[in-house]
Structures are given as C-alpha cells and as structure tokens.
Symmetry: C2
Subunit: 121 residues, 2 copies
DNA sequence: TACAACTATAGAGTATAGTCTATACATTAA
DNA sequence: TTAATGTATAGACTATACTCTATAGTTGTA
C-alpha cells in the first residue's frame, strides 16, 4: 500500500510515518519495475508493527528504545537465548512501570478518600 | 531547608528544581528577616510534593498536567465536589495507562512464548 | 489537457523537559 | 582573609518527538 493508506489504517500522520521511516522504525520499498516514480510500497505487516510502536510509546518507551528492539528482534541475528533475554528484560521494565502507576493510583485514591472524609489537603 | 538539601533529599538536581520552581510546581521563600542574601527556604512538605511529581512523571503525566493538578488541588479554591471529580478523573487516566501497559506486556509475553516454542518471529 | 490530489526530500519550526554556562554575590572553613 | 563552596538569575544549549513548509515531480479525473 502507499503511505496515504498506511496513514489512514494506523491513524498516524504521513509526516510522522516518514519521520519513523527516517529513524529506521519502518521501511517501504519502491517498486523496481515502475521507473516513472519513487512511490514507496508499504507491507501489510507494518500495520501491526506500527500498532506495536504506538503501544510501546504509550507504555513509556522512547522511539530509540523501540528502534533498538525492532532492529534486534526482527532484523538482527539474535540467538534464541538472546531473544528470550530481551523479552524478559522488557517484561520486567513494563512490570516496573505498572508498579509505579499503581503507586500513583494509591496516592490518588488516598487523596480522594481524604476529601470524602472531609480531610481536605 | 536550602536548595542543596532539597536536591539531596529528593535526588532531583538543583537545576531541575529551579526549572520546576520557574514552572510554579514548587515554591521556596526568602527569609524576610535575613537581608544579606536572597537564599530561598524550602518547606519540608516539598519532599512529598516532589516525590509525587516524580511518580506522576513516571506515570506518563506531563509537567503541565501535574502543574494544573497541583495548582488546583493545593492552591485553588476548589469545592469538595470539584476535588472529588479531579481525583476520579485522574484515577481513570491512570487506570487507562495501566491497561495499555498490560497490553504491551501481553504482546511481549506472547513474543517470549513464541521464541520458547521455536516460532521465531 | 488542465488541475486537483498524491508522493518524495530536505530542512525549518515547535513543544516538552531538562541541562549547562556565565555572572554575581554570599557563606564558611582553613 | 582568602579560597572553596553555595546560592540566584538569565539565558543558551540539548534531546526527543514530532509538525509544518517549500519545492519538485507524478497520477488520476473532468
């Protein structure tokens, strides 16, 4: 598909998609047979990749971190053991973030309870 | 306490503390009786405020969002009902972030299982 | 064929959150 | 008392992640 379709199907603007492509997060390829233009074709599988990037960003990972993971995981020559190690490490990082969020939640809940009990902060 | 102590007790650099003070997140006051300098005194309670800022940042809130919350909550003239509404809204936002993180975790766990089962991606 | 809409590249501009430097003055320990 | 350390202000600089503009060429439709 062309960039316009990729943009519409992911909800990511064309500008941002090109920004990601420059960073190496995604890659389109120009059709060798078509000589009249340099339009890039983007693979169907990029939809999933981009959704994964969006989710990872929401999870607090930087594009640099996501990029390293993508390069290693999909394009790198990693052994099974190395892939397992990366997955475990990332899961631990996510767990830590969840833990931190739960602490913030506890703080908010306490504040709410204090208000309810008339103990205005 | 002076800024150096506040920095040491929170782990936040003096530069960043001043940056926060410029944004209005924290506030020190110069001792009126001491005329020889303009050194600011920071209240003990700021330790908790700063820890709360750090936690909120980790939770993915921007300094602008945190600032609004602090201004409203601690300095604003909010009714009990308004405070309750704010607390509920923030708790919902945190819950959403936790949900998103759990999705990323599921993705990572699946990837890990795929590797373990020899289904290298 | 005219022209609106799409694609590509390069580079400028913006927002957020620091981080660092320069300058000036104050405090404290040797 | 002087040198090191601490404090204040202002402003420059950096990194991240976009976001927009300019320019040029391409495609599709009336």
């Amino acid at each position: 598909m062309l960039i316009n379709e990729l943009s519409k199907r992911t909800g990511v603007t064309i500008h941002t998609l090109r920004f990601y492509e420059n960073l190496g997060l995604i890659k389109g390829k120009t059709d060798e047979e078509v000589k009249s233009n340099k339009y890039k074709q983007y693979d169907e599988s990029l939809i999933e990749t981009i959704n994964w990037i969006i989710a990872s960003k929401k999870a607090g990972f930087t594009l640099a971190e996501i990029n390293i993971l993508i390069q290693d995981w999909f394009n790198g020559n990693l052994t099974l053991i190395e892939k397992l190690a990366i997955a475990k490490k990332k899961i631990n990082e996510v767990d830590l973030k969840i833990k931190e969020l739960k602490e913030v939640r506890r703080f908010l809940l306490q504040a709410k309870k204090d208000v309810e009990n008339g103990l205005c902060l």
